[in-house]
Symmetry: C2
Subunit: 314 residues, 2 copies
């Protein structure tokens, strides 16, 4: 669907991660010249990738070398984990906010035109809202991960105002899909897949009625591909499905897709969770000509297929 | 005016600075037991101060020792300067955001109940607004100083949500008064005083019609004193005069107060400046029973007196 990026040189930072692998595929398909950067190289470098650079993004010389000569950078690396960031905010600021902004400053000094940042539509808003959240909705993140993402967005916006490089933060809702791991407590779909397949009890905080916006990782990748051709002013753009489903809905869909029931272990509600988080995605349609293509049923079926194919080897 | 703080133990971090000296006076007058912390001790420790600790707030052991046994902390230290912060955002994040949040975490670990932070109502909003800005107005700071203040506010709000210590950020408009220096390009009133007294030309960006909210430092100090007795939930509170005046108005008032005209050197407008920044101060009245008491004319007259008394020794 994306307009071709014929010859555009794009560096993907965090190329080996869950979203990164899908973004690399999407960029290669769109004819971009992709350089990949991650801590480790995969066993097989994806077809079409010009170069796979192995290194740590907190090493400034690595970022400087990898970003030289690039037109755009897709920044997906994150040294933060939602579960642990709350306990040491000063370290979270250093390893997450400072490191990301430093990488952006290095890219700007390298002459990069466009810097795309993976922000978090699931955490930066923080507040309840009956209507889908627009990008100008108030932001009151309830965990350090969300506060850090928001702080990074603001520094990137400032780079867009003060300097040459354009910056766009994509506020991604709850991404799910093939390749998402369950052990970092980041994805409800991945956790449900694992509990379904292994027959273990899945802990649920509250009654499972909280509403979230789940977006398929292939659609997220297409949003980044579209954003690589973005020519408007620096901005922030929601990337989600635009629709809300409950946690229990998701669990039922996973059970249907795997054919295996999930035992639920209901635990007391966590007051820091918001009841409802759904993104308004009209800005993405206007600015990126992007809309999600994969239904929740199809996406979860594809994800279940990936999990079931990994049996029993994994 | 402030309710007595009889016996409440308060640490003032940055006690030797422009605002800090006024806050210390106000706290002593309100019967608080004041510990002062700053890089250097003044020639004469202010009357009523229990202890003056000399040390750097970036030294964690200094903050830990000074905050032990305190009920409240007034945090006025800032390692950022508006003029230089834009050039190295990563360093600004480290020295300003990380250092401040680390100090707050140390205070929380010390058992401090209430942490008051001096934020910046003059920079965190960033946007134009015909009406005075309320605390829930959108925040789009246009410089690194404002982005950092906003980021710190969010981390402090999170500490208030997740941990024991209550946090309040006072968003101070444009403070002015006795003791404000002119050499750090922070205060228009101080700069005008200096140009008026020295007879040098004062650079003005644009036509001098930008509107700002100037608040007398004695009123700011009273706001911190009132906030030391605050018992509501963690929050953000505007501290300003609630009224806007133009840059040219301020210059005329300074000329009247000093009796010496100021030569103006008009320079091209800076696009990063907002045209108008005036704070709505009703939340401060509700939550702190605080309103500003000193008129602009009286405050500028007092400030001019301070400048004129310093002649010719300085």
């Amino acid at each position: 669907m994306s307009a071709g990026l014929g010859g555009r040189r794009v560096l993907v930072v965090g190329a080996g991660g869950f979203i990164g692998r899908h973004v690399v595929s999407g960029l290669v398909a769109a004819q971009a010249k992709v350089t990949a950067l991650d801590l480790a190289a995969p066993k097989r470098i994806p077809n079409g990738v010009v170069e796979w650079v192995t290194g740590n993004v907190s090493d400034e010389s690595v970022v400087a070398a990898a970003s030289a000569g690039q037109d755009a950078v897709v920044y997906l690396a994150s040294n933060s984990l939602p579960a642990s960031a709350n306990h040491d905010l000063a370290e979270e600021i250093n390893s997450h906010v400072r490191a990301t902004v430093k990488a952006a400053e290095i890219c700007e000094a390298s002459g990069v035109d466009l810097f795309l940042f993976a922000s978090s539509g699931g955490t930066v808003y923080g507040l309840e809202a009956d209507e889908p959240l627009v990008e100008d909705s108030p932001t009151r993140p309830r965990n350090a991960y969300g506060v850090s993402k928001l702080a990074i967005e603001h520094y990137l916006r400032l780079i867009g105002v003060l300097r040459h490089m354009k910056t766009v933060s994509l506020r991604i809702a709850n991404p799910y899909g093939e390749g998402q791991r369950s052990h970092r407590s980041q994805g409800v779909v991945a956790a449900a897949m694992q509990h379904s397949i292994e027959g273990t009890a899945m802990p649920i905080w509250g009654d499972g009625s909280v509403v979230r916006d789940f977006v398929y990782v292939g659609d997220v990748a297409e949003a980044f591909v579209a954003a690589c051709g973005y020519e408007g002013p620096s901005t922030v753009i929601n990337i989600g499905s635009g629709a809300g489903v409950t946690l229990l809905d998701i669990i039922r869909l996973v059970e249907t897709a795997t054919g295996r029931p999930i035992r639920l272990d209901f635990e007391p509600d966590r007051p820091i969770d918001v009841r409802r988080n759904v993104l308004d995605i009209r800005r993405a349609a206007r600015h990126l000509s992007w809309t999600p293509k994969v239904s929740l049923e199809s996406g979860i079926a594809a994800t279940a297929g990936w999990w079931l194919r990994r049996l029993p080897a994994d």
